[in-house]
């Protein structure tokens, strides 16, 4: 399970709206402090969602550039984190569209497991596991059960089969079909 980014730095994040307002006024020191403080939670956000670690630095930098370009759209009545993760999410999807399409069929099983264990969409949604629930809801009940048992709980095919009253081969076939459906959903959703 991925924890909420920057949970332990609540005091720092409370200052972010003020820092951004100061940055809008041209305060470079406040702006640099803000960008330095938001970088670790952005990395955590990406690490929780993104599977290729090599890309994280690139995407973080793209997000920082996007935040810079869109800084005038932040308004104090809007929660800063929602605004920031709105930019981050958009840039992440944009990046995946740009560089991920050519490897669209190459989501591997480890990546799928990472996604399934991840409940962090935005930090606020992390506790709800909204995306994972949505993805799993696309699957028929049997496939969902097999996938959770074999990929998340870590049961072997034989153990899962025993629990579900299925043969090992049937579990393998069901897991394969479920994996394929989940991958299709991930691609459609822009992962």
């Amino acid at each position: 399970m991925v924890s909420e980014p920057n949970n332990s730095k609540k005091d720092d994040s409370d200052a972010w709206p003020q820092l951004m307002l100061a940055a809008q006024g041209g305060d470079a020191v406040a702006y640099q402090r803000l960008l330095r403080e938001i970088t670790p939670p952005l990395r955590t956000f990406l690490r929780a969602r993104f599977f290729n670690r090599e890309h994280i630095d690139d995407i973080v930098q793209e997000i920082l550039l996007a935040i810079h370009a869109a800084r005038h759209t932040y308004r104090p009545e809007q929660p800063f984190r929602n605004w920031m993760y709105g930019v981050a999410r958009h840039k992440m999807i944009d990046y995946l569209r740009k560089y991920g399409r050519k490897t669209a069929n190459e989501i591997n099983d480890d990546e799928l497991v990472t996604f399934m264990r991840d409940t962090a969409n935005t930090p606020e949604e992390a506790m709800l596991g909204k995306d994972v629930k949505q993805a799993l809801a696309q699957l028929p009940e049997k496939q969902r059960e097999v996938l959770l048992m074999t990929r998340v709980e870590g049961l072997s095919m034989a153990e899962a089969g025993k629990k579900l009253g299925m043969t090992e081969t049937a579990v393998k076939v069901t897991a394969h079909r479920a994996t394929k459906k989940m991958k299709e959903w991930l691609l459609e959703y822009g992962y």
């Binding site: 940055a23 809008q24 006024g25 041209g26 305060d27 470079a28 020191v29 702006y31 640099q32 960008l35 330095r36 970088t39 670790p40 630095d57 973080v60 930098q61 920082l64 550039l65 996007a66 810079h68 370009a69 869109a70 800084r71 005038h72 759209t73 932040y74 308004r75 009545e77 809007q78 929660p79 929602n82 605004w83 993760y85 709105g86 930019v87 999410r89 958009h90 969409n121 935005t122 606020e124 949604e125």
Partner: protein, 210 residues
Amino acid sequence: MSMDTDKLIASLGQDLKPVKPMAGAGTLAFILATLSLAATFGAIAIFTKGIRADWEVMFNEHVCQTAGIFFAGILAAYAAFRLSVPDTRIRNPVRAILALASFIWVLLIAGQIGAEPPEAGYRNCLTDFSLMFIIPFAAGIFMATRGAPVWYGWAGYALALSVGSFAALGMRFACPNEEPAHLLVWHYLPVVAFAIVGIGLGQILLKRKK
């Protein structure tokens, strides 16, 4: 933090210039509505024979209809500008607002269905509608790109629905034909058609790199 990211942050700090925060969605919707209505009635004055003589009668008889069109325009404009600011929490509220604006148009169109086909010879209405649409839509796109839209297609749809609504409102004051079938084909369905085209235009025009 990697060195590259450190350097980037230092560079962004050095390049920092003061910016004026973008106006709120309500303010921008009000500006677009005012602009659209001004352009619409300007187009009526310049390109048509002016406001219909019996506009007061029409307005009194169809006050709910005209109010509905205006309300749909305002709602769609508000949704368009909410979609112009990044936010992880806007999807559902904006969907509801857009659904309401679209639902008003479904009701308006459903109210005209079943009428006899319109007489030929009213294609001018579509030309007038287009003239009332183009400038406010271009202005709306410009205003939206001053923000940072992330759902291009939906923002384009909302803008087109809004501007189309105001153009349709203008048409009610310009065209004296009250046949339900005429209203359906030449005044109301163009709003839907333009809104659908707006999805594609939004994806092209709002995606521009800054």
